[in-house]
């Protein structure tokens, strides 16, 4: 049972979390990249940024996961310092 660290509640069993999808560059897709966004899931040999929600506290945050090692590198709230220094997926 993996541990996911909620930026507000700390490390918890991953069963307390809901996955909300990959972080996209922009909040809305343009017509051109809508198909891409809906039907092609990013699967990089490297780090992916994803949205997660801690269901007991409804905290929505971003986690960075290395898809080759399945290691969760760090997690942070949108707008935090960590978010500002993060590179786009």
């Amino acid at each position: 049972m993996k541990i996911m660290t909620c930026p507000v509640n700390g490390p918890r069993n991953i069963s307390e979390f809901q996955w909300l999808g990959p972080v996209h560059d922009t909040a809305e897709a343009t017509d051109a990249d809508l198909l891409n966004r809906l039907f092609f899931a990013p699967n990089p040999m490297g780090v992916l940024r994803e949205w997660w929600r801690h269901t007991p506290s409804n905290t929505v945050f971003i986690a960075e996961r290395d898809l080759t090692t399945d290691e969760i590198l760090r997690s942070y709230l949108k707008g935090s310092d960590a978010d500002r220094t993060a590179s786009p997926a």
Partner: protein, 203 residues
């Protein structure tokens, strides 16, 4: 509000659990339904400022609780609190606080309806530290879950808020969770903690 007497409120476990006259003073292991007791949940901008203005000391950090004047104040977020009345004390202060809040017109946060949406159980007794590992997967060792700790997690297979209260000097934990699952929670505890006696308080 009109002058008509408000009809009695009902709670899911009313028909199921025996009504106790007051807080039990022996040290048996118990599950008590405290749902009818006064409580107030506030959230959103203005919450902490309003409470501070009322002279209610908020815990400095989130996920801590503080006790004062017959109330236990749980801080769930920067601008989110739940205030539980102390079953061993007079609920006057909380009742007055609720009335003041209704009367306030400025920023005061929003009513989070925590007096309706949650069932409020208190598990108390000497067997608490052995019972908690059967109910939740978080670290409940004394250094991780000491007096005054508030945790938003899953317990009894549901999203729940746990707070270590140690009411009346006896080890105790209060659990807040979906009111519609009250019956299920009582079934769960009866199955997993068969030695725990069950009862309820209305005051």
């Amino acid at each position: 509000m009109t002058a008509l007497a408000a009809p009695a409120r009902s709670w899911p476990l009313d028909h199921r659990l025996p009504l106790l006259k007051g807080w039990p003073t022996d040290d048996r292991n118990r599950m008590l339904d405290l749902s009818p007791l006064p409580r107030l949940g506030l959230r959103g901008p203005g919450t902490s400022a309003w409470l501070a203005g009322q002279g209610c000391p908020l815990p400095e950090t989130i996920h801590r609780s503080a006790g004062t004047e017959g109330m236990t104040i749980l801080r769930l977020g920067a601008e989110e609190v739940v205030i539980l009345s102390d079953p061993l004390a007079d609920p006057d202060r909380l009742t007055r606080l609720q009335q003041d809040w209704q009367a306030t017109t400025g920023p005061k946060g929003f009513d989070a309806y925590r007096d309706e949406g949650w069932c409020w159980l208190c598990l108390s007794g000497p067997a608490i530290s052995d019972a908690l590992p059967l109910l939740t997967a978080i670290d409940t060792r004394p250094n991780a879950f000491g007096l005054g700790t508030v945790v938003q997690t899953r317990a009894l297979h549901m999203d729940a808020v746990l707070v270590r209260t140690d009411r009346g000097g006896v080890p105790s934990v209060d659990i807040l969770f979906d009111v519609a699952s009250s019956g299920f929670a009582a079934d769960f505890i009866a199955d997993v903690l068969p030695g725990f006696e069950m009862g309820r308080l209305v005051r």
